[in-house]
Structures are given as C-alpha cells and as structure tokens.
C-alpha cells in the first residue's frame, strides 16, 4: 500500500493538499485539505451593510464578482428590497461574462494539459490535423497554416529543453491517449483561448467599471447611469460594443470549447465511468428576469442519490427548505467543534496540524439535510436536464451528438455523473449561458428603449435585527451569503461557497465530501506521477481562494509529490 501526498495541487486557484492511499493500483482512501485560513467573515462583522460587498468581493482574487453580487443579494433579501429590472439584467450580464471567462480558463489553462501531451505535438501532421478539426467543428481558426505555426512554437520550446511553465507536466504518461494531431489541435485552442478570456473580461469591465473587483454595485441595484443621449453613461454605443464582443466570443464557446470537451470524452471514455463521487447535486436558480426575482433563466434544484427523476426544483430564492437544510459541520475542520446553521456560523480557529483521523483542513463540511452535496456546472446541467429546461436539453443533446459523431460513443445523462461529466457540464453550461447573454442584453436594450432608465432603489435599514440570504449559481457552483444585520451593521456574516461543498472534509459521522469520495476507485498506474488523481481533482475546478501573492527572487521550495 502506498500513501501519496500531493501538496500543493498545482494549476488551481489557491492552495490544496490531497492525500490518497493506493492499494493494488487503485485509490481506496482520500483526504482533501485546504491549507489556508479564510478570515474575511471576521472582517465583515461590524461593517456597514451597504459597503459589505466591497469587502466580500475580496473573498477571492479571481471570482470577485460572484461574492459582490451574493453580498448585495443577501442584504436586499434581509430588507425585502426589490431592484429595478435594468439592475437585474446588468448584474446578470456581468455574471455571465465572468462565468464564461472562468470556464474557458479552467478548461484550457488549468486542466486540459492533464489530457494533452505537449511532447507529442512535434510529431503531428498539420494538414491532417486541420482536416480532423474541420470534421468536428465549423470554427474558422483551425487552418493548417495556423496549426503549423503553433507546432513550430512548440517544436522550438521542446528543442530548447526549457519547457518553462510546461516542465511539470506528466508528458509521456501511459494514461495520455490523444494522437499527435489531436494534441496539436487542442493546444492551438489553448493559446487562442487567451484572446477569448480577454473578451469575456471586457464584458465585465464595460458594465462593472473595472475587473477584477467591479465598482458598479449597490445594495438596491447598480450605479450605472443610463442615458442614451450622453457619451459618459450606458448608451447605445456601449450596448452595441457588448453585442459585438459577445458575437466574437460565443462561437469560441459553442464551436470550440464545447467541441473540444466532446472530443476528450470520445477519446477518454473511461472517465465517464470514473470519479462519480457524491451523487447528491445542488444548484440554485439564477439570472432573475424581473424586479422581484420570481422568474429565472437558469433553474435550481436538488437531486439525491444520483436519481435524476427525483429532482426537487428550487424555484425561488425564498425557498424555505434550502434555508432550513444548510448547516456547516466543524468536527473535522480546524475550528472549534459543532454544527451550525449559517446564520449562527462560527469560525474560531482550533489548529492541530494535519491529522487524517481528526482535524485536517481549513474547509468546513457543509451539509444539506445532513448530506454532502456536489456543486458545480454539472449540478446545474443535471437539474436542468431532469426538470426539462429547454436550453439545457438542447445543449446537452448537442454534446451527446458531437461525441457520437467522433467515434460512435453513446453517452447518456446518467454517464455525466463522472469526472468527464464535470468537464462536459462546464462546456454545456457555458453554451447555455452564451445564448442567455444575448437574450439578457436584448431585454436590457428593450427595457431602456421603452423609457426605463432606473437602476437603483434606496435601502432603508430597520433598528431591529434582520437576517437575509443571497444566492448565486457561480462558475464553480452554488454560492450563498448569509447575513445578520442590526441598525445597518453586520453582526454575523457567513459565506457557504462552492468549493466548501466540494472540498468538504469528513463530517461528524465520518462521511467524506465530494473530492474525497470521487477519488475512491481511481486507478493509479505510477504512484510517482498520479495523473489520474489530478484529472478528477481538477474536474471540480478547485479554488482555495484568498492567498498571499508574493514572488521570490532567490528561489525556494517547489511543488512536491511525496510517496510513502
């Protein structure tokens, strides 16, 4: 039996340690540990509730907008404050821009190299690669000249012997299965994705004032001035600019990103049967289309025990069961013990060092009616598919058709409950969001042209205590901020974030969380190079945010894989 420690897991946002026990070439036990403390909730106590979002978006240096929006939604919920439709549309467009950005970066830059072997690229025939690419996508950026140029760059890199940022990859690993041509196609998209990552940032920046850390929010709406006759405000020019950025960005999502994940699924079908893990799924409704948030463009719901037919829809942010069901268990986390509903949540540190039999992480264990839940784009897709959401059906079926077109592989919704399903789920959800971006922009434009330029309703805070909860279905999954306010000031603040759901440790009953469960049964061919473990961990898009960013001019430790 071998014990493998990967610390830190690289190509993620933040700091994660994973320990697995391998017996007979297969993982039989796993622990996920976040090695950093998140103290922002402590900072938020005693702050003015109107400025909470400015601080809350510093929960993370990457997913800043999601925390800003969840924070204002939580305060608005506590005050029963509606926001103008324009504010809903503007927030929705920002959230979509951010989600597309996050999902593109995750797939190409943070995880695709688990499946692409850079060292195979010099062997590819660019003309053959171009003809393969034309066969599975109508994208115009797949010409043989383009592919040959990328190949030349990679050849230079390999010949120099200085792979730089690519030097830590598991090149030549027996679990790498793509042909030289397919490796070349996917890596050329890896480089092209840098340009589209930039375009999705522009959507957020045009509406949010800047990114990261948008500046346009307020409790009660948004601070964007709308005046079609002014050069300095949101006007037809800016709306037209958004339309044209989206028209550039969307084909990359729907014809490249989705097509590439389908290609991976066809070449790595074993990952449709690995990494299922916790098969309880949570998704919250999002993209409200009216002031009172009674109608949503994206459905929410809960699926238990992998039974898609059992889906319970969450149709409102006021959903009573959700508010009652969520609790966080500190038994195995480095906090003083106990299980608390978020409004009473505590984070008093109780650090013990890594002890797999007791406390071993800074992440709490969120539970839904006592059960661990998997959060993420896959949850949205499964809930949407199970509840008959038209756009989810359309894009999921499109993905299945694309996979079948590659090599005849038949994939069912049930197969999505897997490591590859999480990759597919992210690309399917991005394709849905792309369609919705154009609809939201159209709705905003129409509303403005109809003469509505309101973006803000002023909040009033009562003297007594009020409580509120703000939801957002973020790129990594369901996010909820829970606030207690007295005289306009936070007396408690708790964020239950997607990675807490997924990176959850064991709870008081010893039941492990989604990362931990999903690794059980994973084959590990070479314990020194646990590529298969990384594929499943990366499939969750881990984000252990809120870290110290410093450089070292002299050189210190590097990432390590230890086998004991």
């Amino acid at each position: 039996m071998a014990r493998i420690t990967i610390d830190p897991v690289t190509r993620i946002e933040g700091h994660l340690r994973v320990d697995v026990e391998v017996d007979g070439g297969v993982v039989n036990k796993a622990w996920a540990s976040c090695t950093m403390w998140r103290g922002l909730e402590t900072i938020l106590r005693g702050r003015d509730a109107r400025e909470g979002w400015v601080f809350a978006q510093r929960f993370c240096g990457v997913c800043t907008t999601v925390h800003a929006v969840a924070s204002v939604r939580a305060v608005e919920d506590a005050l029963s404050l509606e926001i103008p439709p324009n504010a809903q549309y503007i927030r929705n467009l920002i959230l979509i821009g951010h989600a597309l950005h996050d999902n593109i970066v995750h797939f190409y830059h943070l995880s695709s190299l688990d499946f692409i072997d850079i060292l195979q690229i010099p062997k590819a025939d660019p003309r053959k690669a171009a003809s393969i690419a034309e066969g599975y996508s109508s994208w115009t950026g797949n010409s043989w000249q383009e592919l040959a140029a990328v190949q030349t760059k990679v050849k230079g890199l390999v010949a120099s012997g200085q792979l730089g940022i690519f030097s830590h990859g598991y090149w030549g690993h027996p679990a790498m299965k793509l042909s030289p041509e397919v490796n070349l196609i996917l890596f050329s998209h890896y480089l092209q994705a840098l340009e589209f990552q930039r375009k999705s940032c522009q959507v957020v920046a045009i509406l949010g004032g800047k990114t990261p850390h948008i500046q346009n929010l307020a409790v009660g709406g948004v601070m964007n001035a709308i005046n079609l006759n002014s050069l300095a405000t949101l006007n037809m020019d800016r709306l037209g600019m958004l339309q044209s950025i989206l028209e550039d960005l969307i084909p990359f999502v729907q014809q490249v990103f989705l097509a590439d994940t389908c290609l991976l699924a066809a070449y790595y079908p074993e990952y449709l049967h690995l990494g299922r893990g916790v098969d309880n799924y949570l998704a919250v409704p999002d993209l409200p289309t009216d002031a009172a948030a009674t109608k949503f463009d994206l459905p929410g719901g809960v699926i238990m025990n992998g039974d898609l037919a059992s889906v319970r829809s969450i149709t409102s942010w006021k959903d009573a069961e959700f508010r009652k069901a969520v609790a966080e268990d500190n038994t195995r986390a480095w906090y003083q013990g106990g299980k608390f509903p978020p409004y009473q949540g505590q984070q008093t540190p109780d650090y013990t060092d890594f002890n797999p039999d007791a406390k071993y992480t800074w992440v709490k264990a969120p539970r839904y009616n006592g059960s661990p839940m998997q959060a993420g784009p896959l949850s949205t897709v499964l809930v949407g598919y199970a509840s008959g959401h038209a756009k989810t059906r359309k894009w999921t079926d499109t993905a299945f058709d694309r996979i079948a077109a590659v090599n005849g592989l038949k994939v069912t919704p049930n197969d999505l409950q897997s490591t590859m399903g999480r990759y597919l789920g992210r690309a399917i959800r991005s394709s849905i969001l792309s369609d919705l971006a154009l609809e939201q922009l159209q709705a905003l434009t129409t509303n403005i042209l109809n003469g509505d330029d309101t973006t803000y309703n002023a909040p009033t805070f009562p003297a007594g205590e009020v409580m509120g909860m703000g939801m957002h279905e973020a790129p990594r999954g369901s996010l909820s901020h829970w606030v207690v306010i007295e005289k306009g000031v936070f007396t408690n603040y708790q964020a239950v974030v997607p990675t807490t759901w997924n990176a959850s440790p064991r709870d008081e009953l010893g039941v492990p969380g989604p990362y931990e469960t999903s690794l059980i049964g994973t084959p590990v061919v070479d314990p020194e190079k646990p590529l298969e473990v990384l594929r499943t961990v990366h499939s969750f898009d881990p984000c252990m945010a809120c870290s110290c960013h410093t450089l070292d001019a002299t050189g210190k430790e590097i990432a390590a894989v230890k086998v004991q």
Binding site: V62, K153, L157, L191, L194, P212, C548, T550, T554, E557
Partner: protein, 180 residues
C-alpha cells in the same frame, strides 16, 4: 499601450504593498489615457488580459529577497527567468510567470516587463502594512514616474496631489500611510 499594475492581497499585511503604491502613484502623478494604472489584487492567470500586447508593463509587488526589509529593487524579466526553475510556488499560482509565458507563446507578451519589488516584513493576515514598508510608498511612486519618463512616457506630478483612498486600512493607519 502601457500598464502600471499593483499586485497583492490587501488583507495580508505587507502583501498589500502593490495596491498601496498604485493608489499613491495615481494620486501624486498624472499620465495620458494610454497608461492604465490598475490595482489587480491577486488575479492568478486572469492577469494575462492586462499584459496582452502591451509595450511596457510595470508591476509593483512584494518580492522576497536577501536584502534588508523595506528595500526597493527594480527587476527585469530576465532576472526572474534565470531563476525560473527555483521560483517559489506561492499560494496564488499560477500567476505572473505563467501569464507571461502563455502570452509569449501566443505572440502577445508585453515588449518589456519591469517589476518594482519590496522585501516585505510580514505577509500575514492583518489590517495594516508595517511601517518600514508603508513609509516607502511615496518613493516607490516616484520610481514609477521616473521609469515612465526614462521610457519617453509623459508623467507629471499633480499639484496639488489628491488624497489616496486606502479603504482597506484602519482609519488611523490611513493617515499615517498618506503622510508618509
């Protein structure tokens, strides 16, 4: 196009040096619109869009080195690249070097990169920057201005300078930092 970028987490003590200097520079100097002055926090790979096709990028950040605490140093890209294999993996990787390397491969890297670094005292969770670090902010802002001018980029001192908005620091400490 030119970017002046502050990196760092404002809630991790001296790691907030980058944002502090950016705000000090913005208030003490003015540049043409072709110079973007940005506090980007800890963006990871999301840094890449702000480096894309730039002529010159000046990054202000904490850089651990063997110098005295509070020492300001200017680095060029090669200074780091020669030590690349030994670069420390920080809690926030992938970051600057990955972004640069990606852009270089894609043909969109900045033509020149300069890092203005300070050797920090403590990057622990805190709502203040240590005195030895915050007291260098005005000098660091001056070094940015000097570097821009040496590159033929217009940059003039504001008269009067505006007051920095250091919203993340404690009130008493804000006055201290602004005075420094």
């Amino acid at each position: 196009m030119i970017s002046v970028i502050g990196l760092g987490n404002v809630f991790l003590g001296d790691d907030g040096f980058g944002p502090l200097v950016i705000e000090s520079f913005r208030c003490a100097y003015s540049c043409l619109p072709s110079v973007e002055v940005l506090d980007l926090g800890t963006p990871g790979l999301d840094l890449a869009p702000y480096l894309y096709d730039k002529h010159l990028v000046i990054v202000v950040d904490t850089v651990h080195s063997d110098t005295d605490i509070g020492t300001l140093s200017m680095f060029c890209e090669e200074d780091f690249m020669t030590h690349k294999a030994k670069l420390r993996i920080t809690g926030h990787d992938p970051g600057l070097w990955d972004s640069i390397a990606h852009l270089r491969l894609a043909g969109h890297a900045p033509s020149e990169l300069i890092v203005l670094g300070i050797n920090p005292e403590s990057c622990e969770f805190a709502d203040r920057i240590s005195q030895r670090i915050s007291s260098t902010a005005a000098r660091a802002a001056g070094m940015i201005a000097q570097t821009l001018i040496e590159h033929g980029v217009a940059c003039t001192a504001r008269d009067p300078a505006t007051v920095p908005d250091l919203w993340w620091l404690r009130i008493g400490h804000v006055k201290q930092a602004a005075a420094a």
